[in-house]
C-alpha cells in the first residue's frame, strides 16, 4: 500500500478518488465537482420532484398491500386468539419473538452509525446516518408490534406500564420482560428525537426551497422556524453531541436487555453470560446488512453515488466482516462453554442445535453469518456492488435464522423427552413475518419520498470549504 495510485490534487477529485488507503492523502467524503449548492440540489431534488416516479408507486403499492395484510392478520389474531400461531408447549416462543429480536437488532446499526461513529469522529458516517436512523426507527416500530400482539390479551397490554390498573397491582420490576418494555420504548423515543433533531436544519432547507405554499407551510411547521442562527447552532451542536453520548450506551443496553429475556432464564441454550455482547455484535452485524440492502438500490436510483460513495460501502463491508467474525466467535464460545461445563443437559442442547432436527437452520445461520462474509477479505469483493448486495441479503437471512436457532432449538427438546415437539410455523406466522416487511418498507418509502435521505447540513460541514474569492471585490450595492 506504499504506492500512491493517483496524484490528483484536492481540487479536482475523480469519482474513484476516495478509495485510496494512503494515510498521506485524506479521502474526500464527497466526490465529483460538488459545492454546497449542488449537494443541496442533489439531495433535495429527490423529494421535490413534482411527479412521483412510477417505480415508487409500484414499490409503495406492494409494501402498503403487505402492511394492510399485516393489519388484517392482527385483527384475525385478536379475534381468534394466539392459537393461530404454531407455537405451543414446549416451544412457547417462536416466530413472533424471533421477528421481534430480528427487527430490534436491525435498528442497532442506525444508532451505531449516528451516535458511536459520531463520537469517534468518523466523518464518513455523515452521508449515511439519516438513512440508517430512519431504518432504526421503522425497524423498532416493526419490532414493537410483535411483543404487543404476543401478550395473548392485547387489551391488557397497558399492564406492562407502571400505571394504576383495576387489580391495584404494579408491574414486577425484577422481570427482564419489563426491562425490555423500558429499554425498547426508551430506545425508540431517543432514536426518534435524535433523528428529528438532525432533520430540523434540512427541513428548513426544504421549507426555504419550497415552490408551493403548501410545501412551505408543512415543512415550515416541522422545521420549527429554524433559520441557521449561529447562536442556535451552538446549542444545537451541544444537544446533538449529548444525544450521541446518551444513545451510545443506550444502544448497547437495548440488545443486552433483549438478551436478558433469555439469559436470565434457566433454559439450557439461553442461560449464558455471553448473551449481551453476543447479541449486540449480532445486532450491529444484521443492521449493517440491512443498511446495505437498502442503500445500494437507493443511491443508484436517486443518483447519490457521489455522496454515498463506494468508500462508504466498503467501510460498511469491513464492519460486516468484523462483526460477522464476532458472532462466529460467539457461536464457537457457546459450544466451548457447553463442553467445558460438563453439564450433560447443556452439552445435549448444543449437540442438538448443530445436529438435531433444526440442524438445517443452524447451518444456514453458520453459512450466512460466518462463512459468506469472509469474502470481504478480498478488496475487489468489498468494492463490488453486486457482490455486497447479495452478501447483505444473506446476512439478513442468516441473522433471522440465528434468532430462530437460539429460540426454537433451545426449546423444542425439553427436559422430558415425552414433551419433545417439532415446531413448524403456520401460515399466519409466515404471513406476519412477510407483513412486517410490508410495514417496514411502507414507512421507508414514505421517508424516501418526503424527507431528505442524506443529512445535508452535516454533509456541508465535512466538505472542503470554498476559498474566499472576494477580497478585492467591488463595493456592494444596497
Amino acid at each position: 500500500m506504499s504506492t500512491m495510485t493517483s496524484d490528483t490534487s484536492i481540487g479536482i477529485p475523480s469519482v474513484a478518488d476516495n478509495l485510496s488507503d494512503d494515510p498521506r492523502r485524506r479521502a474526500p467524503l464527497v466526490v465529483g465537482d460538488n459545492n454546497y449548492a449542488t449537494v443541496t440540489e442533489k439531495v433535495c431534488s429527490v423529494v421535490e420532484r413534482p411527479k412521483t416516479p412510477l417505480a415508487w408507486y409500484v414499490a409503495f403499492g406492494v409494501s402498503a398491500a403487505l402492511a394492510t395484510y399485516m393489519v388484517v392478520l392482527i385483527g384475525y389474531l385478536f379475534w381468534t386468539g394466539i392459537g393461530v400461531w404454531g407455537n405451543n408447549q414446549p416451544v412457547g416462543w417462536a416466530f413472533e419473538i424471533v421477528n421481534f429480536v430480528f427487527w430490534v437488532g436491525i435498528g442497532h446499526a442506525g444508532t451505531l452509525i449516528s451516535a458511536i461513529l459520531f463520537l469517534l469522529r468518523q466523518h464518513w458516517r455523515t452521508a449515511i446516518n439519516r438513512f440508517a436512523e430512519a431504518m432504526t426507527i421503522f425497524a423498532v416500530i416493526c419490532a414493537g408490534l410483535f411483543p404487543a400482539i404476543h401478550v395473548g390479551r392485547p387489551w391488557f397490554a397497558y399492564w406492562l406500564f407502571p400505571i394504576p390498573n383495576q387489580m391495584n397491582m404494579w408491574p414486577n420490576f425484577r422481570s427482564p420482560l419489563l426491562w425490555d418494555v423500558f429499554a425498547v420504548s426508551t430506545y425508540f423515543t431517543v432514536s426518534l428525537l435524535f433523528w428529528y433533531v438532525g432533520l430540523i436544519p434540512d427541513l428548513a432547507t426544504l421549507r426555504d426551497r419550497a415552490q408551493t405554499r403548501l410545501r412551505s407551510f408543512i415543512y415550515g411547521i416541522f422545521a420549527l422556524g429554524w433559520r441557521g442562527s449561529a447562536r442556535h447552532w451552538h446549542r444545537y451542536e451541544v444537544a446533538y453531541i449529548l444525544l450521541a453520548g446518551l444513545a451510545t450506551p443506550l444502544v448497547l443496553s437495548v440488545h443486552s436487555v433483549v438478551s436478558f429475556d433469555f439469559a436470565t432464564s434457566q433454559i439450557p441454550g439461553w442461560h449464558a453470560t455471553i448473551f449481551p455482547p453476543y447479541f449486540v455484535a449480532g445486532a450491529i452485524f444484521s443492521g449493517f446488512g440491512m443498511v446495505l440492502t437498502l442503500i445500494i438500490p437507493c443511491r443508484k436510483w436517486y443518483g447519490l453515488e457521489e455522496v454515498i460513495t463506494l468508500r462508504h460501502l466498503e467501510n460498511m463491508n469491513k464492519i460486516i466482516l468484523s462483526t460477522g467474525m464476532m458472532v462466529g466467535l460467539a457461536y464457537g464460545t457457546e459450544f466451548f462453554i457447553a463442553a467445558y461445563s460438563s453439564n450433560p443437559i447443556e452439552e445435549f442442547t448444543f449437540i442438538n442445535r448443530a445436529l438435531g432436527p433444526y440442524a438445517w437452520a443452524y447451518w444456514i445461520m453458520i453459512c450466512c453469518n460466518v462463512v459468506v462474509p469472509q469474502i470481504f477479505w478480498s478488496r475487489a469483493m468489498r468494492r463490488s456492488v453486486p457482490v455486497m448486495f447479495v452478501v447483505s441479503i444473506l446476512v439478513n437471512v442468516g441473522m433471522w435464522f440465528e434468532r430462530f436457532v437460539i429460540i426454537v432449538s433451545s426449546l423444542n427438546r425439553d427436559f422430558l423427552p415425552s414433551s419433545w415437539h417439532y415446531y413448524s410455523p403456520t401460515w399466519v406466522d409466515v404471513s406476519m413475518l412477510i407483513g412486517s416487511f410490508g410495514v417496514f418498507f411502507t414507512l421507508f418509502l414514505l421517508f424516501l419520498r418526503f424527507v431528505p435521505m442524506v443529512a445535508i447540513a452535516e454533509l456541508k460541514g465535512v466538505m472542503p470549504q470554498p476559498a474566499s474569492t472576494r477580497r478585492n471585490a467591488e463595493a456592494p450595492h444596497a
Binding site: 449548492a37 426491562w179 429499554a183 451552538h234 449529548l242 450506551p249 474566499s468 463595493a475 456592494p476
Partner: protein, 185 residues
C-alpha cells in the same frame, strides 16, 4: 423580540450576505470587536470557529441535561421501591423485595430517557423554538441561508445600532449584498 412600542413597520436590522465561511468569520470578528450585542450570524451548517469569532458563551444545556438525568435516576429508584417493596410488596421466589441490582436496568433507561428529553427540549427552549414567524423570513435573499449563503444581521435593538454607522460597518466587510430588514407587524 419582545417589543411594545414599535409602529406597524419598523426596522429589524441590517443583513449582510457572504458566501464563504472565511469571509463570514472575518465579518463576525469585526462586528464582535465593534461591540455589538444584538446581532447574529446565519449559516447553512455549523461553521467551525464561529462561536469564538462571535464571542458566543458556552451554553448551560449540559447542566440542564445532568440535572434531568439525575432526576430520572432518582425517579426510577423511588418508583421501583414504592411499587414493588412498599405499596404492593411482591414476594417472588423468596427474593428480596428491594434489591438494587435488579433495578439497575430501569434506572439506566430512565436516566437516559430524561436526559435525552432534556437535551432536545432544553435546546428548543434556549433557542426559543418553535418560532414560525421571524422578520428575516420576509427577505427573499435570506432563503439561501439554509442552502449555501451566510449572513450577518445586526439588529436595531442593539444600543450601538445607528442606521448610518452600522451600515458603514457592514459595507466595510465587503458583503455580496446588504439589505434592510423591516419588522412587519
Amino acid at each position: 423580540m419582545p417589543d411594545t412600542t414599535r409602529n406597524a413597520s419598523s426596522l429589524f436590522g441590517y443583513l449582510a450576505e457572504f458566501d464563504t465561511p472565511d469571509d463570514l468569520l472575518e465579518a463576525a470578528k469585526s462586528v464582535r470587536d465593534a461591540g455589538y450585542r444584538c446581532w447574529d450570524s446565519y449559516t447553512p451548517f455549523p461553521v467551525h470557529g464561529l462561536d469564538d469569532a462571535m464571542g458566543i458563551q458556552r451554553t448551560i444545556l449540559p447542566w440542564i441535561v445532568t440535572i434531568s438525568g439525575f432526576t430520572g435516576c432518582v425517579v426510577a429508584l423511588v418508583m421501583q421501591w414504592w411499587m414493588n417493596a412498599r405499596d404492593f410488596p411482591y414476594l417472588i421466589s423468596g427474593k428480596p423485595l428491594w434489591s438494587i441490582p435488579a433495578n439497575i436496568p430501569i434506572v439506566f433507561e430512565l436516566t437516559v430517557l430524561f436526559s435525552a428529553l432534556a437535551a432536545v427540549f432544553g435546546m428548543f427552549e434556549l433557542n426559543k423554538l418553535p418560532r414560525l414567524h421571524h422578520p428575516l423570513f420576509s427577505s427573499e435573499r435570506f432563503r439561501r441561508a439554509t442552502t449555501d449563503r451566510m449572513f450577518v444581521v445586526i439588529e436595531a435593538e442593539d444600543p450601538l445600532f445607528d442606521e448610518v454607522r452600522t451600515r458603514h460597518l457592514l459595507e466595510s466587510l465587503q458583503p455580496l449584498a446588504l439589505e434592510r430588514i423591516e419588522d412587519k407587524k
